[in-house]
């Protein structure tokens, strides 16, 4: 279901403001995160409506990945709140495992389970987290593998696949859980250049289908073409955020101008 171009860009912030929390897939309020004495995120706030695609860009070490991990509770904020579909991840009452089951994550280094074949990589969470029967789980897993172009590879081991194929399995593994939100942590950074396109094509298709996505990426063209909003992080803070056109064509801060001059 392709979305109307102007509608998604202009509607983004306005819709979120009007409908308030309920329309927010993700709401981050005054998030701080430090590891020991090193403060990685400083007062980050961000709200993302359903179906919105936000790309996080910025120099390495600026806190993009940590921010992403805070969204599915792989890192716990030092201070502040993260709401996913209205549920506060920082609240002790929240079943964080249940939230994670609804938030897919794709890692830079794929992180497939090397001791299982491709089908089991995708179906294991269906069986053990969603408690589906093996037959149901395998059916869903096969379907998701077909979606990412890996039909016929069910019995292969991850080590037998190329990087691009492994990343597709990782995407299928996340999609199989029928997530409300997908997080991508530099999903194409570890791939050979010729394999990047295929993965980006899958991500683009997902975005078009209406998936809520947060994408940490160095692929500026992808960010420009696919994102509804682009957020530029530097030194643990969101320096600029806005529609891709504004960020890339009309950067306001010297830091973003400098960054774009280096990467474009």
């Amino acid at each position: 279901m392709p979305r109307d171009e102007t509608g998604k860009v202009l509607g983004g912030d306005r819709a979120a403001n009007a409908a308030g929390e309920a329309a927010c897939a993700i709401e981050i309020r005054n998030l701080y995160k430090s590891f020991g004495h090193v403060s990685v995120l400083k007062d980050v706030s961000l709200s993302q409506r359903r179906g919105e695609v936000i790309c996080l860009i910025g120099p390495s070490g600026c806190g993009k990945s940590t921010l992403l991990r805070c969204i599915n509770g792989l890192e716990m904020p030092t201070k502040g709140h993260v709401f996913v579909e209205g549920q506060d991840l920082t609240s002790p009452q929240t079943d964080i495992d249940a939230v994670r089951a609804r938030v897919g994550m794709v890692f830079q280094s794929f992180n497939l389970f090397p001791h299982m074949n491709v089908l089991n990589n995708v179906s294991i969470a269906l069986r053990h987290v969603k408690k589906l029967s093996r037959k149901q789980a395998d059916e869903i897993a096969s379907a998701r593998l077909r979606d990412v172009g890996l039909a016929g590879k069910e019995r292969a081991r991850p080590a037998q696949l190329s990087g691009g194929q492994q990343q597709r399995v990782a995407i299928a593994r996340s999609l199989a859980m029928d997530p409300a939100i997908m997080l991508f942590d530099e999903a194409t950074s570890a791939l050979d250049p010729e394999l990047v396109k295929g993965i980006l094509a899958i991500m683009r298709e997902l975005a078009v289908s209406g998936m809520t996505m947060v994408v940490v990426t160095h692929e500026m063209r992808f960010a420009r073409e696919v994102a509804d909003r682009v957020a530029f992080l530097d030194h643990g803070a969101i320096v600029e955020i806005g529609p891709p056109a504004a960020i890339f064509d009309n950067p306001q801060t010297p830091r973003l101008q400098e960054f774009l001059a280096q990467v474009l």
Binding site: N72, G104, N111, H115, V129, L150, A151, R157, G164
Partner: protein, 265 residues
Amino acid sequence: MGGLHNLLKTFFDVEDMMSVFPTLITVGLWNTLQLSVLAMLFAVICGLMLSLVLVSRSWFIRMPAFLYVDLFRGLPAILTILLVGQGLPIAGIAPFGRSPYPYAIMAIGLIQAAYFGEIFRSGIQSLDRSQMLAARSVGMTRRQAMWLIIIPQAVRNVLPASMNQFIIIVKETSLVYLLGLFTFQRELFSIAQDHAANVGNLSALVAAGIIYCAITVPLTHLVNYVDHRLREGPTLARQGEQAMAESGADGSGWALESKAGRAER
């Protein structure tokens, strides 16, 4: 010639060996295997539990496990076996009755659990944290991630190290003779020792030694084989052929990345 003859007569008296061989095989081998397999099971299961405590995030939970490992690795096996096998029944703690076997199995199991605990701990901690992150990211609890993702890989990683321990267990079972055995309870070593004492010739011990090696050497190769198979996966050969046959055409439009396709470039 006299020296060589003496040497052969002392250690390799074929006639003497042949006379003890049937008993070694029918009684001794069976008992040794029984003791070994049960002690291994005891050690592996307890060692695995121990390793989970050893990797606990809480210092208070880890501490007793570290003490256990230090204690049982620190004591000579012969001492532990005597303390457990003789001591417990004397102290009135005799859950297994009078047979020395369960006590010997328990003693060897307790000793080896300390080693296996450390082996599994290193196997778990050698795994990249990203495996845990990936497992948690699809909604698994820490416990599920441990049992479904981390432990299966850890066990595979430590197979070669475990092999050494299995071999040591087979040999340590000979210490059961310290606890006093009925004729039918004797294992390889005690049969050979009795025989040697009776006939005044050590060839029976050499015969027992040959059988010990016949157990432990194939064990090495079995573990290597299993290790290899787990690492490669049983379907490697078939998948390889498939990839070659498809040569990049998986019909999805993203056909660039099949192995064969890559190789061509």
